[in-house]
Symmetry: C2
Subunit: 866 residues, 2 copies
């Protein structure tokens, strides 16, 4: 005989396949001896059987359900539909995997015109009883009997209008009693049949509804889109309701087994007597500290302590628990792993090792790598933040808090900064021209662009707080002001940014500096011991390089030379080169840039010592180095002594319909080999003069091995003229960022010394959407579940990842020992780092502030192999 | 004992590995008994040995070379360096594969102060002898002794200045004799050693130079870039020179074994007595028809006929031969497969089958599929032509009609073409410098030169109309005009060419469609019998569809609905939709478009009968439907009754940095499902109303199976509301144009009924360059050999092709019977069609005029499997 129904005390977490996730969890707690409100679970097999019988129950199933219900009644001493001590239950769906497309919950099932009186007596609160009743009719009518929610809304509105009040809370017990009748009439009208007064009928109908929701359109679509297959049905959990509002010996609360803010190993929580859970959450009454319960009800307090200790010992994790005290008896409604700050997570993990609860590996596994961001940046004083006015919310593009005076142009940022003032640069979007202003700013706010927009990428690299794409603020750059939430913020006004949440806040909010604890170092040391792949950094300046070393970087995986092109006098020489009519003109201009580049490289090599440094040759389209606005154009013409027309003509010439797919990367150096020659010489001479350094020259945007070979030939020529030996003194490699390069990796791997995935471009070309433009639809795509996460933030493992795997497999076939890495945004995303580990990369490279994240994620990935 | 040197009469074409391509060819001709000027070949093994001995010859090798030389002297009765009957030879490199990076040719080797006198006597032309001598010193000095060409240029300039003349031809024998001395001094100065008077020393040095050129930088780079491996060295061919300018019993000419213009099976050619080959090619003197030779020298003519018959029988192909008559004796300098017009190619192939020379398969193999384009070109309307004024008649050098504006310089042709104007390039004669201008021209007219002049040969190759050697027109290139029949035609005036008759006509004459010959039908019938894949067409209108059916299309592989959006009133409704503020507004506008779309589809289905029709849902970015200029914007605002600002705002909103990677394709329909719904309904209703039709709905730009599923759900809903059954009444499929779709083809193939490669977009994204912008560098890329052919014209098989293969393999794993095709530009490119056959596509789709090309190419691909 198949057992279709299990009481909570008959199961365990191992029976998830039959009991569903929620059911197994309730059984497990019961098994631990934790006082959970009892109940029973109809199994997933029962659901399958229900469908097999064409949406009917077998006698067997009904008999078992009745048995368990009677057991529940006898255990609780309450009876379904009883006028004195009514048993109320909740009915919840609970599949093996959580499935938002399905029916969620029906509460207070068992209420009817008789039992509502019992509830009123039991709680001594008639208004509460009728409010619960009318809510139950609404919920049941809606979820089980498919009556539109708006019909109930209409009735309550009528009731309030009749009484001339505005709030639901202004309705008294007798109003609500009347409302229950109106609701029942609404059910009758909407469903074409009566609201069932018989609680057993209610229960059967609710179970029907849960089973039915397994195959409703939303659930089917959800399973189809998420490729959930092999499940036979959903389980149904029926659980006794308990009440914290049955007088002064009742109450409700939440607790954490350790402090979720600091990680301190001490019971932490709050509660309210004679209250329901909603009251705590809603913040209508101020709850008491959990310590106070010790005086108020030592017995319950001690029981709580015993339970929390038992739970931590069992789950070996900090728990977040909900409890209700019903007439002096403690019930645990839920226990689950507690959320915590990054700071607390590190402390808890390390202390649990000390306490012997977990080992070092588990500690490393426990801390969410992505959350480390919080530890490395300034944060807002959360108390102070509560009082501030939030002007809008954009993308949390670069974490950390920033306070400063608003300016709207890069040059104004520089000017204000020189006066010693803190600056927030506000732009519709930024461009390379703004670099200097961005550099001096405390924070950057843009109204357009995504997580990988120029502002976001540059800010993360600099470790500067940035909120991007905040469409709530309307920026008038020319008028030097922006408006948001009815406020007008002018140049010089203070605002505060929270780059970790994306919030833009009016005025100044106090900030707190990050403090890296000893626990943090301990955890990172453990992590480094486990991880298999190296963690490098993306750094364009010696300052970035030093910062990254501090965070544990083992090399530079990407040094973008073009950022150097923008600084000070250089941009003039770069523009002179772009405007040159012929080779001679370009050479002349390049000769001015060469010594500056060389000096930069020497500084970087010196900073990095004998750690490897990958330097990417000039990559962006040339138009990025030219001014965009009239003013800049006429200034440039004046500086270079050419006509404004000439500058405009050049800008027109360089205009492209799809610059992302245009004249950039190695295409520049193939057309103008003198650029490659100058850069190769600057890098190799610098390397030669800094002993111990091994420059690695990287050719960008290669899609065809012949492109690489042409660029390589130029470098080899320069190297040979300097008497340098390949592999010993320097290396040559390429970015893999064009799908074609990945597909023909075997051809390329024969020649290169190293490869590095440029997954930003690779994602753009593989998925066919540009970072700059995808904002229009990518949000919707992630919402619709087309992509689980923004593929520019976390590698699209199914698509882009497959391309990477094809590349690696083919490259290793011909060049097995070659280093293959990844640079760009994904190198600092924990899921991406783990993926990189799995597909066999040698290193990941990310912005300095993400280095610790990558180190931890890499360790976690290595531990997943065990 | 290794044989390092082979006389031509010792080898055959099977010995290519040792003799190189050229040497094997000369040996084969000798073996056939064709009177080839004799000589010998140093083998590729000799080259390897030479390097093995550190750039020295073994005694053995030198001895063999001397033996063969003496044999040559004895056979020709001439001696190297002889004062009376000097033997002159050419020295040429000749590797197993043709290799432009290597040394090409040294002519007239053997000339020195003594033998030049002999040559003068032998030819009775002292000026010719000393001109040959000074050219030899220049060539030898430059190629063998590395003296810069400019030094010789300087000397000849001095000589002309001294004499006060402008042209080389103004120098007489004695001037040239002096120039030889100056050239020798230049060699002495430039090379630091004397020009070698000893002909055997000359020969050894020339062989040295050829062997040396095998490992010069250019050759190494060429091999590296073209992945040429496994070759051991180059062969060297030493061949006796013969002279067609030794008086009236000497001459030179070219012949084709069949008429290269019409294909008629009749000896065809022209010659000049007492002339050198250059004279014929350069078009300085107008040559005689080959028939005339029968009267002039029947013996030689009969020998030529015998040879041509033998060659055709041997090679079973139409031959293009160069011959020289030296003092009455005939020499064949070269025979090779002759170039021909497409018309001739088809006729020759079909007639050779009739003649029993080749079989049907070979006939199908023989015709260059790409050249069929020529047959499908338009001709002149003969009635209209009657009224037109014929300005002159030249040689019908390349068939087809052409109408355009006259230009006189290649660069002007390019400039005018870029403005979108049709161009006729008019030149006295053309040279390789003019190639680009010739390429963009509708037609080419020259006043000098024969059927084998540069202009004629190149134009036929390009399929461009050409009238050559039209002496009726007097061309003033500098003055940019020509006169003929009393008319003065200036740059920019229209003329018409009839390349099939040689007529040059004043003004514009109407053109008519071509009539395809019976031979063409025969050949295509054979081809259809062999090919395995279907040929469909890209057609957006019923007219296109009918044209394609005429050309043998078996279905529509791509019907782009957006083209319908632009017509007449529709664009207004489309713009209304784009401007709509909400769903209701969009629905209202879509309701206007729906009946028009449906009517279009009905027409197309009716035209195509029961042949499949793939209709792609809306694809381009919405901004393409909006006006770009002020005038259009204000007109649109007026028409739709909205403000100009509103229109501009919408245009701004839709602006994208990289529209190619932006909001387009299925992304439109996912954001606005109402568009998909309208289109699906229009297509399915139309299909329902045209009996026998099977509409295939194609979802564009899918990169993720979930995109497909969301769009599919909308179509399924519409279909179900119309009571239609999938696969029976309609099909749903997708374009594969995003690399990610190809990579995840297994996920997609589970759901779709068909797939079609959109290789334009796939190439853009796979290679990372946009069609619109790649012009800046793609030309250079093809020149540099980075891509063999423009990947937008012919599939990049190594990169994009690999992606296609991955897609097909994975798709077939889950959906083996599914039709997979290709649409877009590549479907009509023969190489691409063959590739599609090889990787197992079911069909290709191309523009109507390319359907015959695809049919033939598909047949050739199938025959390659045999």
């Amino acid at each position: 005989m198949t057992q279709w129904v299990y009481s909570f005390d008959e199961g365990s977490k191992e029976m998830k396949k039959h009991l569903g996730g929620k059911g197994a969890n309730l059984a497990e707690m019961t098994k631990l001896g934790i006082p959970v409100p009892q109940g029973f679970t109809l199994t997933t097999d029962a659901c399958a059987e229900y469908y097999k019988l064409e949406r009917k129950y077998s006698e067997e199933m009904l008999t078992q359900m009745e048995e368990k219900l009677q057991k529940l009644e006898s255990e609780t001493g309450a009876k379904l539909g009883d006028a004195k001590n009514p048993l109320l239950v909740s009915v919840r769906s609970g599949a093996v995997v959580s499935m938002p497309g399905m029916m969620d919950t029906v509460l207070n099932l068992g209420l009817n015109d008789v039992s509502v009186v019992g509830l009123a007596k039991k709680t001594g609160n008639e208004r509460f009883a009728y409010d619960s009743y009318r809510r139950f009719i609404n919920m049941f009518g809606n979820v089980v009997m498919n009556v539109d929610h708006e019909h109930f809304e209409a009735e309550i509105q009528k009731a309030k209008d009749a009484k001339g009040v505005e709030l639901d809370t202004d309705l008294d017990a007798s109003d609500l009693k009347q409302l229950c009748e109106a609701y029942k009439a609404a059910v009758q009208k909407g469903a074409g049949k009566m609201f069932p007064e018989d609680p057993r009928e209610q229960l059967k109908m609710a179970v029907d509804a849960v089973f039915g929701s397994w195959n409703n359109k939303r659930a089917i679509t959800y399973r189809r889109l998420n490729n959930i297959v092999g499940l036979i049905g959903t389980a149904v959990n029926v659980q006794a309701m308990v009440f914290g509002n049955m007088g002064d010996t009742s109450g409700t609360g939440v607790l954490f087994t350790r402090n979720p803010s600091t990680g301190e190993n001490k019971l932490y929580g709050e509660y309210l007597m004679n209250a329901q859970g909603e009251d705590v959450v809603a913040g209508i009454r101020t709850p008491e500290d959990i310590d106070h319960l010790q005086q108020q009800n030592k017995e319950v307090y001690d029981e709580l302590v015993a339970i929390y200790l038992k739970c931590e010992a069992h789950y070996k994790e900090m728990q977040d628990m909900e409890f209700t005290i019903q007439e002096g008896k403690l019930y645990i409604l839920q226990t689950r792993t507690g959320k915590r700050t990054a700071h607390a997570a590190v402390r808890i993990a390390v202390e649990m090792v000390t306490e012997g609860l977990i080992d070092e590996k588990e500690a490393v596994r426990r801390v969410d790598a992505g959350s480390l961001d919080q530890l490395l940046h300034k944060g807002l004083d959360l108390e102070k933040k509560k009082e501030a006015k939030v002007l809008g919310k954009g993308l949390p593009a670069s974490p950390g808090a920033a306070v400063g005076k608003v300016v709207f142009h890069a040059e104004d940022a520089t000017a204000l900064h020189e006066k010693g003032e803190p600056v927030i640069l506000v732009r519709v979007e930024t461009s390379p021209e703004d670099i200097e202003g961005m550099h001096v700013a405390q924070g950057i706010l843009t109204s357009r662009g995504g997580m990988t927009s120029h502002a976001a990428v540059v800010a993360r690299g600099m470790g500067t707080s940035c909120v991007a794409g905040c469409s709530d603020v309307k920026i008038d750059e020319a008028g030097k002001q922006f408006t948001a939430k009815g406020e007008t913020i002018k140049e010089g006004d203070f605002i505060t940014l929270d780059g970790s949440t994306g919030e833009v806040i009016l005025g100044k909010v106090a900030v707190v500096d990050p403090v890296l604890s000893g626990d943090f170092s301990t955890l990172m040391k453990w992590a480094d011991g486990f991880r298999k792949i190296e963690v490098h950094t993306n750094a364009d300046t010696p300052a970035d390089a030093l910062k990254a070393l501090e965070f544990g970087a083992e090399g530079i995986g990407l040094c973008r030379t073009e950022h150097m092109f923008f600084e000070g006098e250089r941009i003039k020489a770069v523009r002179e080169m772009i405007l040159a009519e012929d080779l001679e003109g370009r050479k002349k201009a390049l000769a001015k840039i060469a010594p500056m580049q060389k000096a930069d490289f020497k500084e970087i090599f010196t900073a990095m010592g004998d750690k490897p440094v990958i330097i990417r040759l000039l990559d962006p389209p040339l138009h990025e180095f030219l001014p965009k606005e009239e003013k800049g154009i006429s200034e440039m013409a004046g500086e270079l002594g050419v006509s404004v027309e000439k500058v405009k003509e050049t800008i027109d010439d360089l205009h492209e319909f799809n610059p992302m797919l245009g004249f950039r990367g190695c295409r520049l150096g193939i057309t103008y080999p003198e650029i490659t020659r100058m850069q190769a010489r600057a890098i190799l001479e610098a390397g030669k003069e800094v002993s111990g350094s091994i420059p690695k020259l990287e050719i960008p945007l290669v899609g065809n091995v012949k492109e690489y070979l042409i660029a390589e030939a130029v470098i080899l020529e320069v190297a040979s003229s300097l008497g340098l030996e390949r592999k010993k003194d320097y290396e040559i490699g390429t970015m893999i960022e064009v799908p074609r390069a990945a597909l023909t990796a075997d051809e390329i791997a024969t020649h290169v010394d190293f490869m590095s995935f440029g997954t930003n471009d690779l994602t753009q070309m593989c998925c066919g959407f540009s970072r700059d433009d995808a904002g229009k639809f990518l949000g919707k795509y992630v919402e619709a579940g087309i992509y689980e996460r923004d593929p520019f933030q976390s590698i699209d493992q199914t698509g882009v990842g497959k391309l990477m795997e094809i590349c690696i497999v083919n490259a290793r076939k011909v060049n097995n020992d070659m280093e293959i890495g990844i640079c760009g945004e994904h190198g600092g995303d924990p899921e991406s780092v783990k993926f990189c580990h799995r597909i066999g990369l040698n290193n990941v490279s990310c912005s300095p502030f993400r280095v610790p994240i990558a180190r931890l994620a890499a360790a976690q990935a290595a531990l997943e192999d065990e």
